[in-house]
Symmetry: C2
Subunit: 317 residues, 2 copies
Amino acid sequence: MQRKLKDIGEFGLIKRIAEKEKVFGKEVIVGIGDDSAVIKYKKGYHLLLTTDMLIEGIHFNKKATPFQIGYKSLATNISDIAAMGGIPKYALVSLGLKKETSIKFVDEIYRGIRSLAKKFKVTILGGDTVSSPKIIINIALSGEVKKNYLTLRKGAKPGDKIYVTGTLGGSILGKHLSFIPRVKEARYLVENFHPTSMIDISDGLLSDLKRVCEASKVGARIYQEKIPLSQGVISLAKKKKENPYRLALTGGEEFELLFTLSKKYKNCRGRIHPTRGFITQIGEITKRGIVLLDEKNKVIHLRKIGFDHFKNAGNIS
Amino acid sequence: MQRKLKDIGEFGLIKRIAEKEKVFGKEVIVGIGDDSAVIKYKKGYHLLLTTDMLIEGIHFNKKATPFQIGYKSLATNISDIAAMGGIPKYALVSLGLKKETSIKFVDEIYRGIRSLAKKFKVTILGGDTVSSPKIIINIALSGEVKKNYLTLRKGAKPGDKIYVTGTLGGSILGKHLSFIPRVKEARYLVENFHPTSMIDISDGLLSDLKRVCEASKVGARIYQEKIPLSQGVISLAKKKKENPYRLALTGGEEFELLFTLSKKYKNCRGRIHPTRGFITQIGEITKRGIVLLDEKNKVIHLRKIGFDHFKNAGNIS
């Protein structure tokens, strides 16, 4: 039987692609396998390159306004640049639209893109428009990062503390369409604390933590009750008879930052609590294995909260 | 009645987008409106950024092999870098695929991309994979160009001679899936002749010539019988009871270069005929209007060969 894409998941596909890729020239610092690719650039800076594709019915439904679709498409890309410690700069927009689409609808998509572009001083440099049976939007975003601010997924060391920005669990409440990418928070962190690793939470806290652990060749211990829950997620969980922490630990598209700081900052909690967005310590890096603990420090089996190492290893979303 | 996308076409949409775009910073040399965007880069070089989206049923049908789909997606982007006089460098690949897609199919798409990447020393830096009801492939490609080799659409002057590389009319015979982007030819041209303008033929010779004329604020005179026809296009035209020149003048996805040289090169035909691919002079730049002449120098009405200034002004393909 032929193996299907769903059998290996996105992580499996990325590994498969990365293994065969050939790097030409000496200017590639990071290729496949981080939030953005990193290339040698002008003096003191690296160039960052990233791309994200959103498709109607998968990443947004018919209830999403065209403004929200445009907004989200740029926001997810900016989040990838932020997770490297960088500043977004230039966007190329590819749009797939029905020929019957009204000009007003297209204008609204662009108004959504522009509202965020203006906020983060991103210049839209053009792109491509094609006819398509479903709405598709792909943005390729470039950015830059000061060499000494570059923060990768690899670099976490046993003993480092694990943090997240903001709150988790709000994605399904609509946050995925309106979040503000954590560029300022990431800048604050790289300027003041040199995080040992950083990633944005796009596939879910546990999935993305797994990526950091694999890249850094370490493990992690997470204290469930320390997870900062989004407003509304507790009542939503009650309604759905769900565990609110399950939503926060496995929900994708949160676009908060997950990062690690050297333990030397353990007495600097005040300083790690800037006015520009709050951060919460949720655990620490260990030598191996990902362990989730309840309020009595008892191990919670990850399968119990719906995290399957195989299945959740990057759904093709 | 609400205006639809098909009412304004791609050119109309691009104008609409470009008018509202805000450029942040002083590093943008060319934004919307050329084959690639141009950004200040390292000493002596500009950075080039371009993107292209291909969709099943529009840019390729079910007969196209996955190898061809991958190949074409990178080739169209490389063609855009070549048209600026540049060298392609880094690619980000976004793939929309059904979850039921076999791994072999994905491998074949990548084999197609890699075969061309290897030829032109392009490094694939990653991308995004999402589930989609139709096959979608978007590549964002960056490249570089020596500052003094940068060639734009604007710059053509009355009296300049108009040239094309290769032959035209072959796209519908399958060339659009297997063409070799004209990087070497473009390099030869920018190193030896400093073309005053250049574009790749993606929407059709007349459509793309119109773009050059609008950007350069000039007109053009084309001698129909000088158009170099692809092998097979004459017999195909006979079979279809078509005018072969109509196919060559209006057919999209030829991916040949259309460029102009200063008239000072008029006596250098030998030199403009390098072994690395032949070029043909097909007309000259005038002050205004686009005029097509037959072998007796009689004007051929463009509408007669199926070119409608409005309708053909960039179909959303």
